[in-house]
């Protein structure tokens, strides 16, 4: 008898099958897997001249057959496990669609979002505006990872009838506290600007976002410190004007340095009331000089995306205001998200040396906002939006999450801008916006927003033959949004 140390687990099966062998029934013919020789080649063949097999020999044959079957199963499992090591995983879910290599070192994600808005003005007879449906943002996002530690992201925007590149960068994650990003992305200035466009309380960001850059080209170092309780970012950028999405080439040699330090000291706390607290400060500094063709100066817009302030520009050197030196921005900021309530507040100061002909000045514009959120049912607020506890499903009588939001913001243009650098009859010297809204989160991807916003202005209009106030802007903004 052979030495087969592993035979005990099979004993029961062997004995069960032994009756078949004793009865001289047809031999079991296991279907052979493709990679193996056929069953008839297995060691069961007998020579006609051979003596009849003993019971031990027959048991031994059955035992071997069972062992072979078991081993084939093992080999198949090993082959499948080996295959899985190099297989590519295709996933789809709430975070989009992705392809991932078996070791996770290579990932490609296809994501995106679409925002379909309605913008309806009320009581705008004095200054008529166009009520419109619009595709505010249509942004496919290609992002992923190569060689484990290098991430990339490419995001164009096809909204509002244009094709514009918003993000295109690569980021090396060397350690949690040291990452290097290069390309086009959001410089680390502001608070609501750095929040995703799908996560903001209102259809449009508040007035302070006018004073911070949108997208710029540059290199940034960033990372998490103290176990994620603090985050820093510092970088060098071409230097775009306030609120602007920079082009692929700079129009001057001046560069901006930007930095942000943000603290979430209780992020690991068990106390939900403390966990959602974050505060910090961001700033940028650079030297920017414009020309009559590219002034290097911003204009400021309301919630309805109407321009309420711009510098004088008539195409001549004498009549056009241009950037003429130092530009500085400073933005202290804070948010807090509890189980039902959220609060976001920021202050922004942007100063810029300007010149019109021979007249120069250093102008300082300021803005601030306070926004609050109350999730009345179905979820909790966060900097990354509301994730409903139960998705919209009428059959299950679940309705997603509902959030009421309110916001007040102001933007005040430096008084010294008037009348030399900006026209008091066409550029408002300040704007004050009050808004309320309702957000309905059907699920993590689909959201409906409805906002009422009224903006009041100082200056920027004509009253008789004197400077008057620009008429109030009352607008209804609504949005259907899908992001995946």
């Amino acid at each position: 008898m052979k030495d087969r140390s592993a035979s005990f687990p099979l004993l029961f099966s062997v004995l069960t099958l032994a009756s078949v062998a004793f009865g001289g029934a047809a031999r079991a013919q296991e279907p052979a897997p493709p990679a193996d020789p056929p069953a008839e080649t297995e060691p069961a063949a007998t020579d006609e001249t051979e003596a009849p097999k003993s019971v031990d020999e027959r048991l031994d044959e059955i035992d071997q057959k069972l062992r072979v079957l078991d081993r084939r199963g093992e080999i198949k499992e090993e082959a499948e496990a080996e295959k899985a090591k190099t297989a590519t995983f295709v996933t789809s879910g709430k975070d989009g669609f992705s392809l991932k290599s078996a070791d996770g070192a290579f990932v490609l994600k296809l994501r995106g979002y679409v925002q379909f808005d309605a913008r309806l003005f009320s009581d705008d007879r004095a200054r008529p505006n166009v009520d419109t449906f619009l595709l505010r943002r249509v942004r496919p996002i290609f992002e992923g990872t190569v060689f484990d530690r290098f991430d990339f992201r490419i995001m164009p925007d096809f909204g509002q009838g244009t094709s514009t590149l918003f993000d295109a960068y690569v980021e090396g994650r060397f350690t949690p506290y040291f990452k290097v990003r290069a390309g086009k992305f959001k410089p680390p200035v502001g608070l609501e600007r750095l929040q995703g466009a799908t996560d903001i309380f209102f259809v449009e960001r508040a007035l302070p976002t006018n004073l911070v850059p949108n997208r710029d080209l540059g290199v940034q170092i960033s990372g998490d410190l103290a176990g994620g309780r603090a985050n820093y970012a510092v970088g060098a950028f071409n230097g775009v004007v306030d609120g602007a999405n920079g082009g692929d080439l700079d129009s001057n040699s001046g560069k901006d340095l930007a930095a942000r330090l943000f603290f979430t000291p209780f992020v690991k706390s068990e106390n939900p009331a403390l966990r959602g607290l974050g505060f910090g400060v961001s700033a940028s500094q650079g030297t920017q000089n414009g020309t009559t063709a590219a002034t290097g100066l911003p204009s400021y817009r309301t919630d309805a995306q109407q321009t309420f302030f711009s510098y004088r520009s008539d195409g001549t050197a004498a009549g056009t205001v241009i950037a003429n030196g130092d530009r500085k921005r400073l933005s202290p900021q804070l948010y807090w998200y509890g189980s039902r309530f959220g609060l976001l507040s920021e202050y922004a100061i942007a100063s810029q040396e300007v010149r019109r002909g021979a007249v120069a000045a250093d102008l300082e514009n300021k803005s601030w906002q306070v926004a609050g959120s109350w999730v009345i049912a179905g979820g909790s607020p966060s900097y990354r939006g509301v994730a409903p506890k139960k998705n919209f499903d009428p059959k299950a009588k679940t309705w997603g999450a509902f959030e009421l939001v309110g916001r007040y913001s102001e933007l005040d243009v430096d008084d010294d801008a008037f009348p030399v650098f900006a026209s008091p009859t066409s550029a408002a010297s300040s704007a004050k916006a009050l808004g309320f809204g309702l957000n309905w989160y059907f699920n993590r991807s689909v959201r409906f927003m409805f906002d009422l916003v009224q903006t009041r202005f100082d200056g920027g209009g004509v009253a008789g033959s004197a400077v008057g106030d620009r008429p109030d802007e009352k607008v209804v903004l609504s949005r259907f949004q899908i992001n995946f």
């Binding site: 193996d36 080649t41 297995e42 020579d47 080999i75 290097v180």
Partner: protein
């Protein structure tokens, strides 16, 4: 001056990135090898790491990867960044060379055709040799269950196959038809084709399947000594093949990793008396006369033929027997 300051500021992120990306002082090496060399290279790596540290002061980590030789060669060709390969047969390293990762004359770059140790193919049977297996023809007898891996994925399996074929050619006066008949009958007795030699050892030794395992000599001795003392016996056939497992630096990868000198030193150490001793201790036949004499008793006496003598080299043997539609496929198809 102001411009200079700005340039320095702009350069700072790049400088920091560069500093972070700089390699650490410790070195590492990946040795992609075939199935049964795990124990050999565990011992060898420990010795070489110590030797390298003493010689250069540099810490070294050697990583090992093992699998069927053909499969390992394909992994390297497909991007597994091996600094060195120590495979079962020259054909597999030739395949890597064909992809441009190392020079085509790689076999001339180290002594003895880049084979620092040899082995051969023997039989492992159960204690007492109950099925009276003594030579290759016994494996073709009805009722004998033979365990050997798949020649399509395992270098050892190809040695097994060619050892049987070479024996038959020698016995039947180079009659290819008779050789094919014998080998066909042997493979009809194979119930399972594992992907590698170690898998077949598991099948035979641990799972208790089969009457005889066709095995590398080193694997057979290892099984007798370490895996099942007193449970198995080695049977040396009358004739077998001289198996020459070669080694090579994967120069393109080593250059990229800046480990070319280290990788070459690693392989050269296999030829030193220390390296030869380690090979012999792990049941490989050493080339060096000192270790060969010292360990002669542990290796059975077998008349050996080489692949060049019997088959005209690996390229020809591969094309004739193991290429798609080759003799092995015909045997396999016929058996189905």
């Amino acid at each position: 001056m102001k411009t200079m300051n700005r340039v320095r500021l702009l350069a700072l992120p790049f400088l920091l990135a560069l500093v972070t990306a700089l390699p650490a002082a410790a070195a590492s090496l990946l040795n992609v090898s075939y199935d049964p060399t795990r124990e050999l290279y565990q011992d060898f790596n420990a010795a070489f790491t110590k030797h390298w540290k003493a010689k250069t002061g540099q810490d070294l980590t050697v990583q090992q990867s093992h699998g069927g030789s053909g499969k390992q060669a394909r992994a390297v060709t497909d991007g597994l960044e091996a600094d060195v390969v120590t495979l079962a047969l020259a054909y597999d390293i030739d395949a890597i060379a064909a992809s441009g990762l190392l020079p085509k004359n790689w076999q001339t770059l180290l002594p003895n055709n880049s084979t620092p140790y040899t082995s051969t193919i023997v039989f492992l049977v159960r204690k007492g040799n109950p099925k009276k297996i003594h030579d290759w023809e016994d494996l073709a007898r009805p009722g004998i269950s033979v365990i050997t891996p798949n020649p399509k994925t395992s270098g050892g399996a190809r040695w097994n196959y060619l050892a049987a074929w070479g024996y038959a050619l020698d016995k039947y006066g180079n009659n290819e038809a008779k050789a094919k008949d014998l080998v066909t009958r042997i493979y009809k007795n194979v119930p399972i084709l594992d992907t590698g030699a170690r898998g077949s050892t598991v099948t035979f030794v641990e799972r208790g399947i089969g009457d005889v395992l066709i095995a590398w000599e080193n694997e057979a001795i290892y099984s007798v000594q370490k895996l099942g003392k007193g449970k198995f016996e080695i049977v040396a056939p009358s004739k077998s093949i001289l198996a020459e497992p070669p080694v090579a630096v994967v120069t393109k990868v080593a250059k990229k990793h800046k480990t070319e000198a280290l990788a070459r030193a690693y392989l050269e150490y296999l030829y030193t008396p220390e390296g030869q001793e380690i090979a012999a201790r792990n049941y490989y036949r050493p080339r060096g006369p000192g270790a060969a004499a010292k360990y002669a008793a542990q290796f059975p006496q077998v008349t050996l033929f080489t692949i060049d003598q019997m088959f005209g080299g690996w390229a020809k043997a591969q094309k004739t027997h193991f290429a798609d539609g080759g003799v092995f496929d015909q045997i396999y198809q016929a058996g189905r």
